[in-house]
Amino acid sequence: MVSRRVIQNLTSEFRDSFLAKLGVALVVVVVLVAIFAPFVAPHNPTQQNLDASQLPPLGFTQVEQKTTSEMVDGELQTVTVNETVEAKLEHPLGTDGLGRDMLSRVIYGARTSLIVGVLGTLFAAFVGVPVGLIAGYYRGRVDDALMRFADVSLAFPSLVLAIALIGLWGRASVPVPDPFVALGLVSGMPETFVLPGTVVVVVGIVNWVWFARIARGEALSLRDQEYVKAAKALGANDSRVVLRHVFPNAITPIIVLATVQVAAIILLESSLSFLGFSGTTLSWGFDISQGRDYISSGQWWIAGMPGLAIMISVIGINLIGDWLRDALDPGIEGEGGGA
């Protein structure tokens, strides 16, 4: 449980820290944009328009070489003309190779990243925290088994383990109806949101050990607290002791870890979709891999914009993580990125 003292620390640290405010602002913006994507996005992110493909972002112009051939006096002449492609107001971040609006794609990409980040972290926490609490509380064989298993699974880098599991299990995805579109509040936007189910499960599986380790550490130290002994001596059973006296006092380091893990999982998800191991085609990592093909011809924004979006979101979350860590000082450092 979050006590009053914790909240006091958080608010005073927040008041003093510019970076904490910046982080919260960034994350709030990204979260709002992700939730209200159908209202915010100017275009349908999946709508192709080959007449307006590869438009640069506002403020940039792109010089394209166009080769035309025509018959002049019975001879085939090729003429190379430098054509300037101007940015268009309706596509402020430009368009991709198929003429899809980059701004809309970046906005919808935020949904994928955040949902995978949050669901993956929740999944990891729901598995890891109970296992860690039980292992730390009971110690003995359960604990030994957990720690050995943690050693083994930490021998594989998260990305390697994740692509191996996705490679074995396939890339299942679940189409979820977009509530705003279903209610008829907006039209012309995608009717479903594709949730990359396997990715959520896999990032949870490769990250639960971190939660188990931190919960175990907390349980190990809290179980020896006098008030835990006292509660037991006064008749509280094990589940009551763990849930009432151990878990609530272990929750702050778990929250800090969870924050760091959301950032790490967003980076992991973008790596996976960059490598083509995601189940959705509407994500930042996927767009970066598409944009990679246009790098050699100089169209940097197709890969550049989604990358900037990742950077901004992850910076925001990491700043919040720093704020929580400074305010609560649970003495942990999460894994960080690990892409």
Binding site: Q225, E226, Y227, A230, A233, L234, G235, L243, N249
Partner: protein, 400 residues
């Protein structure tokens, strides 16, 4: 099954209880063949240096010895007519109204914690959960017992009517849904009973807003929540200032008189024993070396260790000459390092050749069967010719 030979006024009888810790360094005999009784309406003191096994003895009674520790033998008889009836025709040992708690299922022993046996720990500052208000914690202890007693003992479940899911929700979201209005009212009553002013307001405060003495009172209130038959107080005053110590001891004494609760007072402080107890057991290296009525043991101590302890109490009127600490330290209790004979022999100023032999049974002293001593000296006078330690510092021990 041995015949426990129990009087009617014996509430708890511990017989031959041993608790061992199985550590990487080896087996530690923390409690060794300890026997004593807790009678109705009395205060039993258990005194000894730190590391002598007092606290483990207390934990052994309520079956809360933690791994790697384990109770390896012994009986803990408890008088409860209802329970005895329930288990009379089972594998459990039952004699009259007494039954041996070591032979009943763990579930039953668990159900007695809080309701029959309550415990107060040494450090009040850390004995309350820092993130829950004092009143809420006491109300919870009340509620745990209320819910338990609402169910037949056989099917007792501490979570009755309160599922695991609800508990998880409560753990995350601060809420009061576990406790009821009645248990909160009872918590305030208990706080008042232990002498906390403005109990209704103080109940809303967090432990860090309480002073040490107030916290120990709150701890006692929490321990009384289940209206226990036995209150085990493990060094309840050690962490407190001297003036507060006296107040807490008076409070315990008063409660004992008013409520008729038996108290087990565990302490290293003979002053506390002298002030509080009706009977006393002296522990050394996991054994009770001397036990009996307070006046018998204090006026006519037989065991040189008891004599030494009494000698080390500062006498207010004549402090300097009597202050004689016992030399040496409590042995390690490692099984492999324990001597065959008396454990105290290497520190004992009156050790003799016979002390190196395995020790026999307890001997009655002072003409009272209750005053029992485990020492060669209970049978024979000290003979300097047979002394083990040649420096002859027998005079160190005050000879009454």
């Amino acid at each position: 099954m041995t015949d426990p030979d129990l009087d009617d006024d014996v509430l708890v009888a511990v017989r031959d209880l041993s608790t061992r810790f199985f550590t990487e360094e080896g087996q530690v005999n923390a409690v060794e063949s300890v026997s004593f009784e807790i009678r109705d309406n009395e205060v039993l003191g258990i005194v000894g240096e730190s590391g002598s096994g007092k606290s483990v003895t207390a934990l052994s009674i309520i079956d809360l010895v933690e791994s790697p520790g384990r109770i390896t033998q012994g009986e803990v008889w408890y008088r409860d007519a209802e329970l005895a009836e329930e288990f009379r025709d089972t594998n459990a040992s039952v004699v009259g109204d007494h039954l041996d708690l070591r032979t009943v299922p763990e579930r039953v022993r668990g159900s007695l914690r809080g309701s029959s046996f309550s415990t107060i720990f040494q450090d009040p500052m850390s004995s309350l959960n820092p993130s829950v208000t004092v009143g809420e914690q006491i109300a919870e202890a009340v509620e745990v017992q209320r819910r338990a007693s609402a169910n037949p003992r056989r099917t007792r479940s501490r979570t009755a009517g309160y599922g695991l899911g609800q508990m998880i929700v409560d753990a995350v979201v601060p809420s009061r849904s576990y406790t009821s209005e009645e248990s909160h009212a009872r918590a305030v009553e208990l706080l008042e009973q232990v002498g906390i002013p403005d109990p209704a307001d103080r109940a809303e405060e967090y432990p860090h807003q309480f002073s040490g003495g107030m916290l120990q009172r709150a701890m006692i209130a929490q321990a009384l929540a289940g209206e226990p038959d036995v209150l085990i107080a493990d060094e309840p005053t050690t962490a407190l200032d001297v003036t507060i110590q006296a107040q807490i001891l008076d409070l315990l004494r008063d409660l004992q008189t008013e409520e008729g609760t038996s108290v087990v007072m565990i302490t290293h402080d003979l002053g506390v024993i002298a002030r509080m107890c009706d009977r006393v057991g002296v522990m050394y290296a996991g054994e009770i070396v001397e036990r009996g009525r307070l006046e018998d043991v204090f006026d006519a101590p037989v065991h040189p260790y008891t004599q030494g302890l009494l000698g080390s109490i500062p006498d207010l009127e004549d402090p300097a000459p009597r202050l004689q600490p016992i030399e040496g330290n409590v042995p390690s209790l490692l099984d492999s390092e324990m001597p065959e004979g008396c454990y105290f022999a290497d520190r004992c100023p009156k050790a003799m050749q016979d002390c190196l032999e395995p020790i026999a049974e307890y001997d009655a002293q002072s003409g009272s069967p209750e005053h029992a001593v485990q020492c060669v000296l209970a049978r024979q006078e000290f003979d300097p010719a047979l002394a083990l330690h040649e420096d002859g510092d027998a005079e160190v021990v005050a000879d009454e």
